[in-house]
């Protein structure tokens, strides 16, 4: 149904829905989508054949007009949820949810920041498991407790001192999940560590909070979400600023920009990312791949060669 050379993330999310292999999709009454890219936007149209889908029209620039539009989009979502689930959502409910998510994100950031240490307490796969798995937890209070326990455990964990010798890789680009972790796994296997991930499944939005100093929680949410440095935003200076800071904070030795096939905005923005990384004097590798394992050998040579560049 979808074109073969579409981004694998879009194909995979639609595939999960179509083949009824995602329990979250099966149990849901309403699917909420957004227009971060053209591929998703059009896929959501087709997905409506399977379930009711509500698509939020995300503006792609930060301007007063865009902001007003985005505020309206969030209000529209609120009504749609109230209608579809026969509930009422008042401002206080939203503030409570905001507080909860802020606590979760703060903790997650503190855990990710532990990898600024040398040796880092988490391998790339550990880091991915932590940041990715939280998305599947519907009980945020329970999740926060688990994150709290994990943070304390990691902070006091004894790490082999040799781990400090490993090259430290910063990963940026498209979202990565368990199932599409091949590049992170290859980096680990080749004797290096992905110490941080500046992507949607990593650090990208962890600094952003909906702030209580607004009167209207919807406006607070709009501010937060419009600030996310997704490559669909044009221009997207905050991503470069964040990357620059993360390179320093996590003492990165090299940067890998992993983009999925046919993800035009991330693929094109790789040009800016390369400039930013080169300015810092670090080796940079742009990998364009998909969810299959067919290119693992050639990815390996590229990653290994980049790691060799960090040594001399």
């Amino acid at each position: 149904m979808l074109p073969r050379n579409l981004c694998p993330l879009i194909k995979s999310s639609y595939g999960f829905a179509l083949t009824d292999t995602c329990p979250f999709f099966a149990f849901s009454d309403l699917i909420i989508g957004e227009t971060t890219c053209d591929g998703k936007k059009k896929m959501f149209e087709i997905m409506q054949e399977l379930k009711p889908v509500h698509v939020m029209q995300l503006p792609h620039q930060k301007s007063p007009f865009s902001f007003d539009l985005w505020v309206e989009e969030i209000r529209r979502l609120r009504s749609r949820i109230e209608e579809a689930l026969e509930v009422t959502i008042d401002d206080d409910d939203i503030w409570k949810a905001i507080d909860l998510v802020n606590r979760e994100k703060q903790l997650l950031k503190e855990i990710c920041d532990l990898n600024q240490m040398s040796p880092p307490p988490m391998s790339g796969i550990d880091l991915l498991t932590v940041t990715w798995s939280g998305g599947f937890s519907h009980d945020k209070e329970e999740l926060i407790q688990m994150l709290e326990a994990l943070k304390n455990k990691l902070a006091s964990m004894k790490i082999e001192p040799e781990v400090a010798q490993k090259p430290r890789v910063l990963l940026t680009g498209c979202p990565v999940g368990l199932g599409s972790e091949k590049v992170i796994r290859l980096v680990d296997e080749l004797g290096a560590t992905v110490v941080a991930m500046e992507n949607c499944t990593g650090y990208k939005s962890l600094e952003l909070r909906a702030e209580r100093n607004n009167d209207d929680p919807i406006v607070a949410l709009a501010e937060k979400y419009l600030n996310i440095p997704c490559s669909c935003m044009s221009p997207n200076p905050y991503r470069m600023e964040l990357l620059g800071r993360m390179i320093d904070d996590f003492s990165a030795d090299a940067v890998i920009d992993l983009t999925w096939q046919a993800c035009h905005t991330y693929n094109i923005e790789s040009y800016e990312v390369k400039k930013q990384v080169k300015e810092k004097g670090l080796p940079f590798l742009h990998l364009e791949s998909d969810y299959s394992s067919s290119d693992e050998e050639s990815l390996k040579v590229r990653i290994e060669a980049m790691l060799e560049m960090t040594k001399k």
Binding site: E288, S298, V301, R302, A305, E308, M309, K312
Partner: protein, 253 residues
Amino acid sequence: MITIGLDIGSVASKGVLLSPDKKFSIVIPTGWSPRDAGEKILAALLLQAGIERRKVDCILVTGYGRVSFNGAFRTVTEISCHARGVADLCPEARTIIDIGGQDSKVISINEKGKVLDFAMNDKCAAGTGRFLQIMANTLGMDVGELAAFEDPSATVGINSMCTVFAESEIVGLLARGSPKGGIIAGLHQSVGKRVATMARRLGVKEKIVFTGGVALNAGVRRALEEELKSRVFVPEECQFTGALGAALLAAES
């Protein structure tokens, strides 16, 4: 000190033995078993040099078969090895174009042979030795003969990048009566264009050195020079730069 560098490629395996006063080099087809090819070439090198294996201080292996060879002291990617080998043969080199059996790569290096940046072809055969080999088959020729038969004055442009589609395109051209020499020149141009695009994206600095098995083909070199509008140098030992680099890195480790 005696060191050996082995470069086990997809089509050919290359070996270089460095002793304090001499250099030996050998190339054989890899065949289906990269491990056997590595063993074979090691034995041949030792025989040629008249040296026992236990006298060898370090064996460093590179190329896609580097992981399947058991006797390696170390493995290093072909990117670092080519850089080291070319820096030894040609210290003025700043850009390396290496075209092998299944890969083409462009490497930027500094005066010490340190890799500054690199780019490699995608997972398809376009712009590699494999592309030329399959086209040679279609034309009923050996890949080694292509350069001698090309006619750049009658170049027939080949539009398909995909090896399978290019094959059909050639079948069509032959049916239409296009001259073979012109088609061959077009094939060289196609490889040249593909690799030059990759090089320009990385940034081309002189001196440009062309290595790998495909560097033996003067037609591809001509095409690269035309595309890059710059001289492209092919060292006599163009096929051995990876193995030489490996042997040199072995001596330095």
